[in-house]
């Protein structure tokens, strides 16, 4: 071996230091720099370093239409909070609403217009320019408009001026096939209100002032209609007022969040909720709680619903039926609501009519704590364009028969939310051109030929009239809170651009959605008491507060048609599949985080433990402990859930509050697209639903499918954040009797060591 001389040694030392230094630099360089230098030497106008700017807008995460205030800093959205002036949410916001930031900053957003280059559905898109996509779409529209009704426009539910814009556009294209499609649209509730009260819109359910709430399946604190507003009402009714504490009763086959929050949870056979409501109605009449002139008509209509027969049909004990009727009629302000699972059966409308009837029978229509009818919306189309299941079946039928030339889809995902049995995905093959306006590559957008990437709601102009309203006229404006991140455009602007290209400039003269919106709001300005304030000032005020309201209230009283009374009745629910082959009734339910599946690409929502099970990042099937034991199944076993229309796999969760012959599955996971956080995670129970509908509303009866469960022999790797869900007598959640006086609690009070005088 040669010896190392001084020169060699120095070289080695040098090389060693450089190597070490380089290693260190490399290590430093691959760290993720979280600080970003402020890149502007001349910053944009709204930009001031270190100072928050708040924009009021409207939440676009679900149809409830809460008002939001978005905190921005250095041109970036930092936090979404509730807009305190908005009457729907009064400054509060649900988890999903707050996760809107992750829609805006989602790493999987569509960033530029794209054309399908390979097989349809193969997800081989090429980016291109707006000019190219818009001109080719316009070209096809011009050709297709000659064939009446051959252009289909399927949009997510939109309200206010954007909805009107769609009407103008489709009218100009000579097509009546403009449909809004939301998975959770409460068709049955609309139909029931229409049948009983002759109301086209949803009424306002005044939970806040009610002292006794009978909820038939409606998961009003979590997913039904307007959860934030209901939660405010719930909290206030419980502990907010001076009067007696509100009592809440929940009737449903599987305990929901609202069921957990309730004072009493009553399991009733799936689809029998309406029968129970009729039974309670029967009691009201029988006990003479309803004494108006048409009492005899009611008695006759309800005569078949004696406590005993109702008990037989619902599985709810007869004493309970009697007691509920008693409590409900005796409470000062009793309110009955129905929806979610109870409305999603083949007898959904009957059920909800029966529930609404209870409100009428105890005379709480138009009263505080009761059902309040809403005034007409101040803007937007009058005709409802919501596509029920039947309308979608028509779409499929038309597609198969080659009657559709162009299908435009706006931000809705029927491929994911419709059962496989509908044949929607297959029908798309017969449509020559599919255009998707979307912010994400969802399951439906993958099937498109042309993608027009749209802004998220945080980058767009729009307005909204919340449905259900809050008993008086409200409209809210949504405005961009940050400048667009990518080469995307607002839906309204895309439509206006296309309108120009297909020669509709005359009826749609606006150059941008913002201009159109301002123009539209002149009407609202005109009807407002503005003390002579000019429109610009009015508009500025509206933008600043984010919401506009008018104290117009509707007359409360209603008269119910004798024909309606005579035809009252709740049929037995029907289920697809034989009881023998498919012993369980499937109860799909929505969670606040996933909603109809749109929450699945938001990491905060994936990581938000589902409150009842603490499961994150997955889906599961819930089963009664006794049933599981009888079948030899254990928590965490993988099971195959099969209906006559397909089968899926999920992890079994032994769930203490579900009926023995019901299994429940959350909706929202099981995406095959929608980005890295959503894809290939859990299963989608909607896929195996039977195409059962409620004939009265034409809506999909999502809870009318029977399934069987078979163990796969494997164990699941579902993740739960919670450990043991029993208190073991440790008094962590403490309770007290409702009627206890302060004196009885004095010991508890004394044990609080914090007694402080004011300074």
């Amino acid at each position: 071996m040669s010896t190392i001389d001084r020169r060699e040694f120095l070289k080695l030392v040098g090389a060693g230091s450089v190597g070490t230094g380089a290693g260190f630099m490399l290590a430093e360089a691959i760290k993720h720099p979280l600080e970003h230098l402020i890149p502007y030497s001349i910053p944009p106008e709204e930009f001031s370093a270190g100072i928050d700017t708040w924009y009021n807008s409207v939440c676009g995460m679900c149809p409830a239409g809460c008002g939001i205030s978005v905190r921005t800093r250095e041109g970036r959205a930092k936090k979404i909070e509730g807009n305190p002036s908005h009457p729907v949410n009064q400054g509060r916001l649900c988890a999903l609403g707050q996760a809107g930031l992750q829609v805006l900053y989602n790493p999987d957003r569509l960033t530029a217009p794209m054309l399908q280059k390979g097989e349809r559905g193969s997800d081989t898109f090429l980016q291109t320019t707006w000019e190219e996509v818009l001109s080719s779409v316009a070209e096809r529209l011009v050709v297709s408009r000659n064939r009446t009704d051959s252009i289909y426009f399927l949009s997510q539910g939109v309200r206010g001026h954007l909805a009107k814009l769609f009407e103008l556009f489709m009218g100009g294209l000579d097509s009546d096939n403009l449909w809004h499609y939301d998975f959770d649209h409460p068709h049955s509730l609309y139909a029931a209100n229409d049948r009983l009260f002759g109301e086209q819109q949803l009424p306002y359910y005044d939970i806040r002032n009610s002292r006794y709430l009978l909820s038939f399946g409606a998961d009003y604190l979590n997913s039904w209609l307007s959860p934030v507003h209901h939660s405010l009402g719930f909290g206030h009714s419980r502990q907010g007022g001076d009067g007696p504490r509100g009592r809440f009763v929940q009737i449903e086959p599987k305990m929901s969040i609202s069921g957990a929050a309730a004072d009493e949870w009553i399991p009733a056979r799936p689809g029998s909720e309406g029968i129970l409501a009729m039974g309670i109605g029967h009691q009201l009449l029988a006990k003479g709680r309803y004494t108006a002139v048409d009492a005899d008509d009611w008695s006759a209509a309800l005569k078949d619903y004696s406590a005993a027969s109702v008990a037989e049909r619902t599985g709810v004990p007869a004493e309970t039926v009697v007691r509920l009727a008693d409590e409900f009629s005796r409470s000062q302000a009793g309110l009955a609501i129905g929806g979610s699972s109870a409305g999603n059966h083949t007898n959904g409308v009957d059920t909800l009519v029966a529930v609404n009837m209870l409100n009428y029978l105890v005379g709480n229509i138009g009263k505080a704590g009761g059902v309040v009818f809403n005034p007409d919306p101040v803007s937007g189309p009058t005709q409802s364009r919501q596509a029920n299941y039947r309308a979608l079946e028509d779409l499929v039928e038309n597609a198969r028969n080659k009657r559709i030339d162009v299908l435009i889809i706006n931000n809705t995902n029927p491929v994911f939310t419709l059962p496989k049995s509908t044949g929607f995905t297959e029908a798309l093959a017969s449509i020559p051109l599919i255009v998707s306006l979307s912010s994400f590559m969802d399951e439906t957008t993958v099937m498109a030929d042309i993608i027009l990437p749209s802004h998220t709601y945080l980058e767009s102009w729009g307005d909204d009239i919340p449905q259900p309203g809050v008993g008086f006229s409200v409209a809210a404006v949504s405005q961009p809170v940050v400048s667009p991140l990518y080469n995307t455009r607002a839906t309204g602007d895309i439509i206006l651009d296309l309108a120009g290209r297909v020669g509709l400039r005359e009826t749609m003269p606006w150059s941008s959605m913002e201009e159109y919106l301002r123009d539209g709001w002149r009407e609202i300005h005109a009807r407002s008491e503005t003390d002579g304030e000019n429109f610009d000032a009015f508009w500025r005020d509206v933008l600043r507060s984010g919401v506009w309201g008018e104290n117009t209230r509707r007359e409360g009283s209603v008269v119910i048609n004798k024909r309606v009374i005579d035809n009252l009745g709740v049929a037995e629910p029907e289920f697809a599949g034989s009881e023998k082959e498919y012993p369980f009734m499937l109860h799909p339910f929505m969670t606040n985080a996933m909603h109809d599946g749109r929450g699945a690409n938001l990491p905060w929502m994936q990581e938000l433990p589902e409150p009842m099970t603490s499961i994150v990042y997955g889906s599961w099937v819930e089963m009664n402990p006794a049933t599981a034991k009888a079948m030899g199944l254990h928590d965490g076993d993988m099971v195959t859930v099969s209906s006559a229309f397909g089968s899926i796999e999920a992890a079994l969760v032994v769930f203490p509050a579900i009926m023995p012959d019901v299994v429940a599955m959350p909706i929202g996971q099981g995406h095959s697209a929608l980005g890295r956080y959503a894809r290939n995670r859990g299963t989608n129970p909607l896929q195996i639903l039977a195409p059962m509908t409620d004939s009265a509303s034409g809506s999909l009866a999502t809870n009318a499918t029977r399934v069987s469960l078979v163990a796969t022999g494997r164990r699941s790797d579902t993740v739960r954040t919670g450990g043991m869900a029993r208190q073991l007598g440790r008094d962590i959640v403490q309770s007290t009797g409702g009627d206890a006086t302060a004196a009885e609690h004095s010991s508890a009070l004394n044990s609080i060591p914090i007694v402080v005088e004011s300074t």
Partner: protein, 447 residues
């Protein structure tokens, strides 16, 4: 190796021991090589990996934020006992048989402490700031928190380490001088420095004896306090199963128990591979066996007490701890521990067992495996089942942790192997004191 019946001479002792320092066989290098390689591959490499990516490389999680690293820490601290401690006790009580083994025992203490300190570095999230736990003046005006049992720990261990280091060094000075006089070259230079000019005068012997005994007396309470303080890291928390008054004696007994078992293991190795058959005899094993047996009974008693107090408390939290220990996820480990540390040691009631080398070796290793399990369980079972059931969870060590655990043994062995080549691993002069004085020589001197 059968030896002929020739009485042992003073010169033999000197030569034996110096030979063990100077003459290095191939086996030694192979062993050292393996140990160093394992230390690098199983300890340092995974540790660096963990430093780079974060403690996430280990298996710890939300309820169980402590894991094997801390278990190893207690284990090594435990092993460090009965080294110096035992040596001191035996010195004070003038036990003859101490002399052949105390040097290695003290070395064990030293290296166990070093490895334990390293385990702390491995355990914390940001070891590069570990010095913040030391009180030193700094321009940030920051000071550690003297209310923290962790800080007591740092101080106790530092003190024990310092004491042990001085003790072992002081006891070695005459031997260094003896080696100095028999070696040449760099060794001579080294031992000239190490022996601090020892000439073996009466005054020197007198002073050494006095200082040695003084330190021995000082170290006994120190050793007891170290493990008591380590136990406070746990006992001063509110965690059910940890918040126990028995913990200090429990830890001290456990420490001495595993330490004594460790000595048995080391003595077996020394005897077998360093040709010390004539220095370490059945008598040593017999005596150590008796001590081990006593400790095992004491340890079992304290374990039973722990179960009893948990049951007697009548609270859900404490009761759950016991139930979980005996029947929960970690129960197989618990019963393994009982088997190794409470049941198997009963064999030592038999003198035949105590005086058989290999069975004693196996038992001593089993006891230390059991004692490691004990430390692991103290952490894992309690932290998995605390007050709020919703926050319960289990913890399973990751590969990195297991590797570091194995690697830490290699680090220990490496250090020990280096030590035996520098320190005379058996005290030369004290062994001579126990031997019959050579008569002939005395007679010669008379003339």
């Amino acid at each position: 190796m059968p030896t002929e019946e020739k009485p042992l001479q003073f010169a033999d002792v000197n030569n034996d021991i110096v030979r063990s320092l100077v003459v290095t066989g191939r086996n030694y290098y192979i062993t050292l090589g393996i140990a160093m390689f394992v230390a690098l591959a199983c300890f340092f490499f995974p540790w660096f990996y963990q430093l780079y990516y974060g403690i996430g490389a280990a298996g710890m999680n939300h309820p169980t934020v402590w894991g094997t690293y801390l278990a190893s820490f207690i284990f090594w601290i435990g092993l460090s006992h009965s080294g110096t401690l035992l040596s001191c006790v035996l010195h004070i009580t003038n036990s003859e048989w101490r002399k052949a083994m105390y040097r290695s025992a003290e070395a064990m203490t030293l290296f166990s402490l070093l490895v334990a300190a390293t385990m702390v570095m491995v355990h914390v999230g940001r070891p590069w700031f570990i010095h913040w736990a030391a009180p030193y003046p700094n321009q940030m005006g920051l000071w550690p928190n003297f209310k923290s049992p962790l800080l007591f720990d740092v101080m106790a261990i530092t003190t024990y380490l310092t004491g042990s280091l001085i003790f072992i060094y002081m006891g070695s000075i005459p031997d260094f001088a003896a080696v100095r006089d028999r070696t040449s070259g760099w060794r001579r230079h080294l031992y000239v420095l190490l022996s601090l000019g020892w000439r073996g005068t009466d005054t020197e012997w007198h002073r050494l004896g006095w200082a040695y005994t003084f330190l021995a007396v000082l170290i006994i309470p120190l050793a007891v306090s170290v493990h008591s303080i380590v136990s406070w890291d746990f006992a001063m928390s509110l965690v059910p199963g940890l918040h126990q008054t028995i913990f200090a004696p429990y830890f001290v007994v456990g420490a001495i128990y595993s330490g004594t078992a460790g000595i048995v293991t080391v003595m077996f190795v020394l005897r077998k591979y360093m040709n010390f058959e004539h220095l370490i005899t059945q008598l040593h094993f017999d005596n150590l066996g008796k001590l081990l047996l006593f400790l095992s009974l004491l340890w079992t008693y304290i374990n039973m007490l722990e179960l009893f107090t948990g049951w007697y408390s009548g609270t859900s939290a404490e009761y759950e701890q016991i139930k979980y220990k005996l029947t929960g996820f970690y129960a197989p480990l618990y019963w393994e521990m009982i088997l190794f540390c409470a049941v198997a040691p009963l064999l030592m009631f038999s003198t035949k067992f105590r005086t058989s080398f290999v069975p004693m070796l196996v038992l001593s290793i089993a006891i230390n495996i059991g004692m490691y399990t004990e430390r692991f369980l103290i952490i894992a079972t309690t932290l998995s089942r605390q007050y709020l059931p919703d926050a319960w969870g289990v913890y399973v060590p990751s590969l990195v942790e297991i590797s570091i655990l194995v690697g830490s043994l290699a680090v220990f062995v490496t250090l020990f192997l280096i030590f035996v080549k520098i320190f005379p691993s058996v005290s030369i002069y004290e062994v001579k004191e126990t031997m019959p004085q050579p008569r002939k020589r005395e007679a010669n001197l008379e003339s």
